[in-house]
Symmetry: C2
Subunit: 307 residues, 2 copies
């Protein structure tokens, strides 16, 4: 199969952009990858790491000649990053992105680049690391990529973007942007908000020291600290751009938490047990679908070597 695009521009060379650069080079040897980042230090680092074949100094130059541009910047910076490319864009180029919220990004990209084909996408993949040295070529392997084509999108262009993500190892789903934003509010945004919150709560206690929190974190807390180590700029933008869906899911969560709180206060063990019992099925589903490591404790190896 020939590659769906001949030259790909990746704008924003952090964890996601860097991984795309590496993954395209690994999976599509004939395709040229051009990278760009607004930060000069990141551009230098990206050249050293070989995240792209070429990393020009000017955004518009990076776009020149490409038939796919993937924006990998925080969602609040999408419009500005897209506008900077305008002078270099070829006719027929597909503009896409990897942002974690889709309705607001679709609007920002359409406004910044009127007349161009915009097909937003979101690979549901990542780690807690950020920056140009955080990327790796297999990040998207066996992960889902959600594409949210506008109603009037060209079917052939959408098919090319699907083929692109599948070539990087991803499984592709399509849905409308509003539904994406609701789904991700619960599977990604709310979990991050809660993790950031509890890590903050634990840091601020007077009766329990931060050193104690760190020492005894293996009781469960440490799991939350991984997510809460994610990039602050990216996550600020996610919550601002997907506000309504996040607030709606947060409302549901708070209702459920209040119910369990009441059960604890009343000593109602049956309600607690029933709730704790039924949440196991979801974990089984995730393991069966290959969406998490099946080994206990995620396969962590911090017990002096082996488990």
């Amino acid at each position: 199969m020939s590659a769906p695009f001949k030259q790909v521009t990746v704008v924003g060379l952090g964890l996601l952009g860097g991984s795309i650069g590496l993954a395209v080079q690994a999976a599509m040897p004939g395709v040229r990858v051009v990278g760009f980042d607004a930060d000069a230090e990141v551009r230098t680092k990206a050249r050293e790491l070989g995240l792209a074949h070429e990393v020009p100094e000017v955004a518009a130059d990076a776009a020149r000649g490409s038939d796919l541009v993937v924006l990998c910047v925080p969602v609040g910076a999408m419009g500005q990053a897209a506008a900077a490319l305008a002078d270099g864009l070829s006719d027929g180029v597909v503009i896409s992105d990897v942002g974690s919220s889709k309705a607001s990004v679709a609007r920002a990209l359409a406004e910044a680049l009127p007349g161009h084909t915009v097909i937003p996408a979101h690979p549901v993949a990542g780690t807690e690391r950020s920056g140009p040295d955080a990327g790796f070529a297999s990040l998207f392997s066996n992960r889902w990529c959600i594409i949210t084509p506008p109603a009037d999108a060209d079917t052939a262009q959408v098919a090319k973007l699907v083929a692109f993500w599948e070539a990087l190892g991803a499984r592709v789903d399509m849905m409308d942007a509003d539904h994406h934003d609701k789904v991700l509010a619960v599977t990604s945004h709310l979990p991050h908000l809660i993790a950031y919150t509890i890590v903050g709560t634990a840091s601020d206690l007077e009766q329990v020291t931060q050193s104690e929190v760190i020492k005894y974190s293996a009781g469960g807390f440490r799991d939350f600290t991984r997510i809460a180590a994610s990039d602050p700029t990216m996550w600020r933008d996610v919550f601002l751009s997907n506000r309504d869906a996040v607030l709606e899911m947060l409302q549901r969560f708070t209702e459920d938490l209040t119910e369990l709180q009441k059960a604890i206060r009343k000593g109602d063990g049956d309600t607690l047990f029933d709730h704790f019992e039924r949440t196991r099925a979801i974990r089984r589903g995730i393991i069966e679908m290959g969406q998490d490591d099946a080994r206990p404790d995620f396969g962590r190896s911090d017990h002096d070597g082996q488990q």
Copy 2:
């Protein structure tokens, strides 16, 4: 160094009890391990797996001749499990446990076995698995074990229990039971409550299907499902037995969550950024202290093999 105890009885042969049985056999070859579980199927399984040298049919028989008894049952079952041993206990035996809350367990054990030496302990270690086949000998390696001796505890007996846990690979700390319960409320109990809650919330949505939640769980949600797959009986008992400290920590968490909710509603990006920025330090501390896997994503290997 000679082993601190000659014969150890482990009551409750699930993840923790089974791991102690295996760890003692691995670390202290001369020490005899006797196991017991109230469930006949678990006793049979434990014999097959060799979790102990011997697994008698009657609790009191399991206690006979031991100079250490470690209760590894849900905290709500401690009193009853201890009382069942009474007839078999030797003079001078040390009664200990591995329960996740300590003040209520100390009371239950003292009431069930008046006149005996009770020194409660809590190894801060575990996985989401439960049952006799979940145990492994290195579970306690490099994990903290918190011992909460009563004010009038015999120093020599406490020192033996410290030596026992250190021989299993743990690092030992001592504190009073009430402080333990506050510390663990934040590092373990609250994280579990929140994880159970959000997994329940996600299962109950009408607009987002359970299948979507599972498919796109790699965006963060899947981390919470691991903890929410923990043993329901154990966790029901933890919340009932450490009610006051859990409710206090939950109150703090809810206040902080409300503050971030308000920032999202108002579009206050600075408050969000400042909060998300400062939670990274805790993660660094945990990694530096060897309390988590330093690799991205806990070193998960579900990307078709490697990262």
